[in-house]
């Protein structure tokens, strides 16, 4: 069974067929091993400070993160072995990952993510009220809403309603936004 697998397929082209059997599940294992190694050898030494008077290893702030990274590397290796066995025995297992993301879908998802980050930045600069009044109709348009009346209502109603509820009922203090402060 040929799987439409990316980046397994990409790796296959790169490796000239050598990596043909290296399914996405195996890449997941590799990814976790690389990530765990990075945290173990770069992250922990640089971003966890240890005081000088720790009496035993188990009390060190670095102890538990190191244990987790060790477990992650072990499990990553187990994942690679499991993926290899699946491929060797031609098992069409349910947990076999295939991304199956078309270019069009990838662009749409990327667009949503960019919109979310834009909303976050807008909140910082414009404040919650104005940014929500802008974001909701834009998001609705992206999701396929084309009626002007609906978009106007989505601009005028949800943002102020949420703002009033959270500020008056939940007593949340909202920053005015960098441009207005």
């Amino acid at each position: 069974m040929k799987l439409t697998v990316w980046p397994g397929g990409f790796a296959a082209r790169l490796g000239g067929g050598v990596m043909k059997g290296f399914s996405l599940n195996a890449w997941i294992g590799v990814g976790f091993i690389v990530f765990a190694a990075f945290v173990q050898f770069v992250g922990i030494p640089n971003y966890i400070s240890v005081p000088g008077n720790v009496p035993m290893a188990t009390l060190s702030p670095r102890y538990w993160p190191r244990v987790i990274c060790g477990m992650m590397m072990f499990l990553g290796a187990a994942q690679i072995i499991a993926a290899y066995l699946d491929a060797k025995y031609n098992v069409a297992s349910k947990e076999r990952a295939t991304i199956g993301l078309s270019r069009e879908d990838a662009v749409k998802i990327a667009g949503i993510v960019i919109l979310l980050f834009s909303y976050y930045v807008a909140v910082k600069y414009l404040g919650f009220l104005i940014s929500t009044m802008l974001f909701v109709p834009v998001m609705a348009y992206v999701y396929g809403e084309r009626r002007i009346i609906a978009l106007i209502l989505l601009c005028a109603v949800p943002g102020p309603t949420l703002y009033l509820f959270f500020s008056r009922v939940a007593y949340t203090t909202f920053e005015p936004g960098i441009l207005f402060s």
Binding site: I28, Y47, P55, M72, R96, I112, Y143, L162
Partner: protein, 502 residues
Amino acid sequence: MLEILPASFALFLSWANLVAVIIGTIIGVVVGAIPGLTGTMAVALALPFTFYLEPTTAILLLVGIYKGSIYGGSIPAILINTPGTPSASCTVLDGYPLAKRGQGGKALSMALYASCVADVISNVALIFFTAYIANFALKFGPPEFFTLICFSLTVIATVAGDSLIKGLLSACLGLLLATAGMDLMYGTNRFTFGITEMLSGVAFIPIMIGLFALPEIMASIRKQQGPAEVFRVKERDWTTWPEFKRCFKTIVRGSVIGVVLGAIPGIGGTPAAFMSYSEAKRYSKNPERFGHGELEGVAAAEAGNNGVCGAAMIPLLSLGVPGDVIAGIILGAFMFHGLTPGPLLFQENLVFVYAIYIGIMLCSLVLLAVGWAAIKAFGGISRIPKKILFPILIATCFFGTYAVNTQGFDLLIMIIAGVIGYGLVLLKIPPAPLVIAFILGPLFEDNLRRSMVLSDGSFSIFLRSPICWLFLALTVLTLVIIARRTYRGMKGKYVGVPLNEG
């Protein structure tokens, strides 16, 4: 006890108390149903208003909010894959698949019935077994907590889905994420990257909303949405009596688990919900259905988290030690009204205590009525087209996440968690183990270190009491069962299957 009941009834039976129970439950359900808002927040906000009320009325209002919010969190968990409260994270696993199959009403009603039954059982435990359960809870020290958390972590295998290894990898991510922040023992920085907001660690609400809600919203842009009816809460599609009977044992079991864990200070509803779910799956005749829309899974999760409600009051009333954060706020209400929870409360204010008990029992009935109304009201959400619902939902998530700590950094965490969550979905890595590990990881590490301090580095401290032996034995037994099941699965997959020669 019987002789003070008339006086307690007389104290309880006032319009103010009845209204407090009803209003409190309604507020709790509404708050719990809004992602980002929690029962803790609602109780904290309501606390100042209770200063002007009679003590009984004040406590009943806060308890009503507490119980309502625990149930309310299941509504968005089932309808839109977004737990309204942390303890509803487990309800998502089977509730949302049921809603996608057009059985949202069934899931919501089962959640309601399980919540009410668990609430009653929890209240009964509070009323009749406070002394025994409080004594049991008193025996828990760091080694006992550690062994309990070890056992709780085995729950991860249950929610790992089809791939145990991927589930464990997801859990490792959660454990690592939970280490960020200031080290509790030495006050040094761990993975704060020089960011001030990271000193208090990564907040749970942004992670929860990011992992569950945002991936679903992102995924919906990919496909043409089916008719809105597929998520519709159908008018007559409620849990039937045979279905409830089938799940009754699970509900009782989950309630007992919730009571035991709720009485232990610091554990909370989320681990109880997952443990109840895990046990339900273990005893089920159809364990393979769990995680794919099994009604018993919803019942187990809700029974577990609601079983905690009354039990969290046990250490509060009997020892003056709050069982969770909300109980801690309720302790504040007690203190303001000149009441000191603990043994003295039972000696000097027994009439008041039993009046509270009566009110708490009424809360369960009120929850049933309010829950019915809430299902009808919130079920209307499923009729709103996705192109209008999802943008409003995202905005609500932003507001709710910001409201937790009033810091914009949490919004960034939520978005990043959403991207990671979507990646996990694409790679078929389950997010539930990450959530469980994120909650239990700090407890695990903290109690390990405390135990090492107590024992001067000797691991034999984890064998010091029967409670430790019990939980260690349960952990080992569970691991053996998991290993056997995994081995059998591998044998079935690989033995006798022709090799792939290609």
